[in-house]
Symmetry: D2
Subunit: 357 residues, 4 copies
């Protein structure tokens, strides 16, 4: 009953096999090998457009590099006030890009709105104000609260950001596969076709050991970012161990299948919790994260019974979702979550699970 | 006949097995797992003293973090003018620690001398001058030219750096195992017992996929550096995949055995080249790197025959080793170099190999 | 009728005379002269405690240096969301201290409250959270909306910031003299006695050409900050031209007299506007800044008549002060504002001025 | 007998008068005033080409901004190894431009040569190597050792830097007026006509209190640098006090006349010293700095008699100028140095002065 985070899971069998296939064989360092060379080609197929990419050690690294890619003196990145780049990266983006400020915007369930974005853009005629210069908009897909932007929503936000002042659009896709699966759209639909310029694509939460990417869509070059990556100490000498993980995830749609499994478990869990008198589910999951209000004694009892799940920070709960007498808990499912875990959890809660799939 | 670099090799069998043993099992993220927790304990045994450590994506990252650990406003790091931190990291240390300068010192075969160091220290009474403030001394073991400092040499340099102005002493140990094997000393002898405060210990060149560490010896704390590592996007969510590699390398002295193998191949290669009329070996290897002068036609012929090896940059060749009519080539052996490779290379050169071991 | 800003005024006669007295005479550079040496002694008298100080080119520079003085990896400065360090310095503090984040707090009329501060501190047990580490609290005196914290208010905030997690307390005193004059307290009462550790003290808005200081109270050292100042290109070779301005401002309480004059003109202006049917004054001034709502046609008429005054940015107007049909204008008085300016302005508005003093 | 540095002098009468003429009158802040607006126009006349410029607090600030203007990730600035940007600015450029490295080149008497530059450029084909990317060449005019590059020398260096890899060319002109006067050329000849893109022009050492500029010649824009200047805390609210100094210096060629006076005093001093048995002058001055070897007892006696002059750092003395038994002293003349000072100094040394002019 490990619902603490999807990054508690290990590596999926496909990734394991791919690494096992990599032997002591010698190959050129720093990306000169065949596997590393194959990554861009494979991504270009999947995204239906030519892309460039840079492999990174973590999603935080990919995010910091993306913001650095768009940085300018006095530059301001717009993001949701509870976004990972804003509250979970220990000011890494601000260290990698000295002089960077991230301006946190409000928005229901972790999603920015065109109204909210438009209001802020008005304060920066031509992108400039006494505060600084807007450089890019960063969207998180799926959001920190497990919701997914539709392609139309992303498109509307990106259009607004670009039309007047040509902002770059970055997507933090640590859980992009979960969003794509939920939306039942193509990877292209929800990224570059909707106006995304630069994508942090995460495989680590979804079944790899450590494999994240910063992807540059048409019109963007990875050259300058490649130099910064090197300065960040992220230019792996043997990147084929990372390329192998990525190719394994992309092969036979493993990344989407893993996400589909995690989403389904999350849906089952949410449905069970919503049916429970003692719980309430303020937002039905649109990815692999479930948010539900629990009573204190239930939390204690479940944790004693071996369930790992944590309260969501108070300051990150939107006012309209606040509930005074209970505690908002986050439960995250992964490729490794099994139906049994969900069943036992719900049963422990005194709820008979009705689970499909 | 891959002698281009030791980082062209893949992972050694022990590392491969360790990764294969890691399944999809769930464990706490960000170092809360058992393997990650075991790393410091294991290193403390091997170094015979309590240590703290931080796992990093690359050796460059570990070096940048080490220099950041010692950084101060106006801070100057002393290093050999051809050291990796000086010429191979694309100013990464200077980006991670804004306002950092690395002052390059001369010294035969990549080794600093107490004379040379003393001369520079005189320019900084109490560690301060109009130029800035000295913060640390960084030594590379083995050096860029394949030589190894003896414990006594390190001790003399560290003592000089510390006694007057309390400089920190960092060791870039990307090839430390090779030096230890050559010197036939303990890991402790050549590090903290000789005055090293902070060690970049690399396993990647020596048989891992990606596993580097910054180790803090007694009197140094990893706490502040841990925050900086997070900002560098190097706080892995599943570090047990890295811990597993490290523990496998340390188990049963695999790291030293791998190094011993590489050193022996290098010695065989160097001996063969030294015995060859058309080559000259200006420095006998004290690790796994061979430097030898070749005639242009031999280089061309060997490369056509499939040998990969590269010229050493002119600007990094010490004046006393320069030889006008030939080209200085670097040949690096690794755990994966087999005797056959060395034999064939020497035979191609028209030299009958006499190889021991 | 120049009410655009107090930094539109030139230098006051006392500063002019002091500069005129400085001839071509030779004196040691970089602070070795007698005037520069006298600054700390004079400030120590005025603040009734030994202080150290560093002269800076601008108030923004002093603020950036203050935040750098308290900076740590992953460090977060707390400030009002409309504070100068937050919205007016083009991310200068974030450039000088790479990896710095400034967290903007709400609070009526530019003033932080213990409730608001306490709420944020709860999110950082022991000063640390997943977001980063709190390093200091920055208070603006007088605030951006012309209000002044009482010594008791500062003391309560500083106590809260210090008692649990030992935050540093910085005061941005670009208009400190105006606040002191309004509060009728001593410089000590409203700074170190109330818990302020580090003070940006501005003379430029109050009658100097360019003279700002960062003052370090007991327990704080200026040494490290001095090195950073040098890196910022602010180590003047002839600082006596700046010291002369500062000493002239401090001599015979010129700084307080200038502030008193400016405050009185602001009070007269505010009283006149408050008595005017077409205007409203949502906050009576507690320094030299007047905020008043005007009708659009009045603004246009007055500006045509030569009055310079500007609207306050919408996003910086607290919700409880918002007024839909009118425009909030800021009018700033300085030592150079004469009664005639205020009278003519009010008369133009169709208001007969009743002015005291 | 103040020969310690030209920045020990105060302000020249013309600057004093200009400041005295500036009263308490009100004018728009941040450069909206008439004097600030006149600076670019006046500089454009003097340099015979349209220029943009940014006023700065110090020459170090202007230099740091210039290097930031040309900075790129992994960027390397080429400069003489004893240049001010290399050894006297406490790594300020490296702080303002995180990730910057300054590579110090050798060259007689502080002057780079096309041979030396060409040798380094060869290590960076297309401007790039494993070390990083070349961004600009910084030349100091007059050099740290008081020598002046001829327009032809600058032109040859700039051509070399530009033709292959398009490096920017920066000139640190803290003593440009002294060089111009010595060379008897126009300001244009020795700057943009010779290929200089960006000029730090210093008035502080030459008769102002604090007035330095970064000038951008054709093809360069000051816009981005302007944002960085703001982040450096150098956007003065009342820049007319600085503009007034600059305009006074440029009016009626005061800047060149002051330099001519200083150069003449330096020439007189050097001639006197060269004629003295106990001294030797290894380089005849080509600006206002005299370098001469003295015996220890003479130094002591002269300092006791009130002369201020300092030894030149050992590490900055070129090998070919080294003289074992004596001490190399630097003596700097300024607009404020009077003939009497030189005469008395030489007389004290037991040398009868024969001085012209």
């Amino acid at each position: 009953m490990m619902f603490a985070s999807d990054n508690w899971a290990g590596a999926c069998p496909q990734v394991q096999r791919a690494l096992a296939d990599l032997g002591p064989d010698v190959a050129p360092a720093y990306g000169g090998d065949a596997l590393s060379a194959a990554v861009n080609a494979r991504l270009s197929e999947i995204f239906e457009t030519p892309v460039e990419s840079l492999m990174m050690a973590t999603g935080s690294a990919a995010n910091a590099l993306a913001l650095a890619h768009f940085a300018k003196p006095g530059g301001i990145t717009l993001a949701h006030k509870n976004a990972h780049v804003m509250v979970d990266e220990y000011n890494g983006p601000e260290r990698v890009s000295p002089g960077l400020k991230i301006l946190g915007l409000s928005g229901h369930a972790g999603k920015l709105t065109t109204d909210g974005l438009g209001h802020v853009l008005q304060q920066f005629p031509d992108g400039v104000s006494r505060q600084g210069r807007l450089t890019c908009l960063s969207l998180t897909q799926a959001t920190e609260l497990g919701q997914s932007y539709t392609p139309a929503e992303i498109s509307a936000l990106a259009k607004l950001a670009k039309q007047q002042i040509g902002l770059g659009v970055h997507m933090d896709g640590a859980r992009l596969a979960n969003a794509i699966t939920h939306l039942n759209c193509t990877p292209a639909d929800v990224t570059w076709r909707a106006g995304v310029d630069c994508l942090s694509l995460g495989f680590t939460k979804n079944g790899a050991w450590a494999a994240d990417l910063l992807i540059f869509f048409e019109g963007q070059s990875s050259v300058e970012a490649g130099y910064i990556r090197k300065q960040m100490g992220q230019n792996f000498s043997k990147p084929r161990f990372m390329a192998a993980q990525i190719l394994a995830m992309l092969e036979d749609e493993t990344w989407l299948k893993n996400a589909e499994h995690a989403n389904q478990q999350a849906a089952n869990l949410a449905n069970g919790l919503a049916a429970c008198d003692k719980c309430s589910v303020p937002l039905m999951p649109q990815s692999n994260e479930v948010f539900a209000y629990f009573e204190a004694n239930d939390i204690e009892r479940l944790q004693k019974a071996g369930a790992s799940f944590y309260p969501w920070p108070d300051e990150d709960i939107p006012d309209d979702l606040k509930q005074a007498d209970k505690t908002l808990m986050r439960l995250v499912c992964s490729f490794a979550t099994c139906s049994k875990d969900v069943e036992v959890f719900l049963t422990q809660l005194g709820q008979s699970p009705h689970i499909k799939g």
